[in-house]
Amino acid sequence: MTKHVRTVPVLLSALLAGVLFGFGLAWSTMVQPEAILQFLLLQNMGLLLVMAGAACTVMLAYRLIPKVMRTPVFGLGWGVHPSHLKARTIIGSALFGVGWGLSGVCPGPAIAGLGVGNWPLIYVIVGILIGAWIEGRFFEKA
């Protein structure tokens, strides 16, 4: 797969997919920390619809697309999200939730939000970069 990741069609595919993703994040107000916090304070259940809409769409795609296509259009094989039933998964997710509850911003919307002019999200991006660095530098086996 490494052979293909630099090619122009793959980059354009990722760009186009990102456009849809970012459009959805902006439309669903996920780029507004206020909206996320409203959900986390249990005042608005909209985020459940966002998650359900996204997860169900992806569930269909992940199941059906490999049945009708032998390989991806510009790729060699079908990827799988690596999930592990380990203590790290739960501890990390618990910490992710603490950060998410503090800022009201997930990693995707932190980036997409810049497109609606939500410039303070740069603080979140810098924060996530710092957190990801600390994790990778001190809490991962090299």
Binding site: H4, V5, A14, L15, A17, G18, V19, F21, G24, L25, A26, W27, S28, V31, Q32, L41, M45, L47, V50, G53, A55, T57, V58, M59, A61, Y62, I65, M69, P72, G75, G79, H81, S83, R88, T89, G92, A94, L95, F96, G97, V98, G101, S103, V105, C106, P107, L114, V116, G117, P120, Y123, V124, I125, G127, I128, L129, G131, E135, G136, R137
Partner: protein
């Protein structure tokens, strides 16, 4: 339909429609390239450009960093398209204080990488492929996020 107004005081179409659009983006990436498009990996992949530490030089970052950056750039463009094509040029600037954004970013970024995913990696891609660990991850971060948001609000935070 009082319960709709109660639980969805700002309506529901944009939530469901936006969620489906997010899902279509992740699905399109899968269809065209076979890649799994979680967002938090973008950040570790960015470090592969700057840090020679072995973890950041892992092929899972080095061989994917170009398309991940293109994906991130696309997200910004998609939000710009929404702003001007749908929202009549009306943007949004948060009033959440900088310290909450920065501290939340550090803790959340650390946790997402340790836990192997965030709301998109576990919540969309992981649930989309019916992975039990992802379901447990989602339940875990929903609970800690709800508790944290209530504590922060109770002690005078945003």
């Amino acid at each position: 339909m009082d319960w709709i107004a109660h639980w969805f005081p700002l309506g529901w179409i944009h939530f469901l429609g936006g969620g489906v659009a997010i899902g279509l983006g992740v699905s399109l990436l899968f269809c065209l390239t076979g890649f799994i498009g979680g967002a938090s990996t973008v950040y570790s992949a960015v470090w592969s450009y700057f840090s020679q530490w072995p973890h950041f030089q892992h092929p899972k970052f080095v061989s994917t960093r170009h398309w991940r950056l293109a994906y991130a750039l696309g997200m910004i463009i998609g939000a710009v398209v929404f702003t001007f094509a749908v929202n009549r040029g009306e943007g949004f600037v948060t009033r959440v204080p900088a310290w909450q954004l920065l501290a939340g970013g550090v803790v959340g970024g650390f946790g997402a990488r340790m836990g192997g995913g965030c709301t998109s990696g576990h919540g969309i891609c992981g649930l989309g492929s019916l992975q039990l660990p992802s379901l447990l991850a989602v339940i875990t971060f929903l609970v800690t996020a709800i508790v944290t948001a209530h504590i922060v609000r109770a002690y005078g935070g945003f």
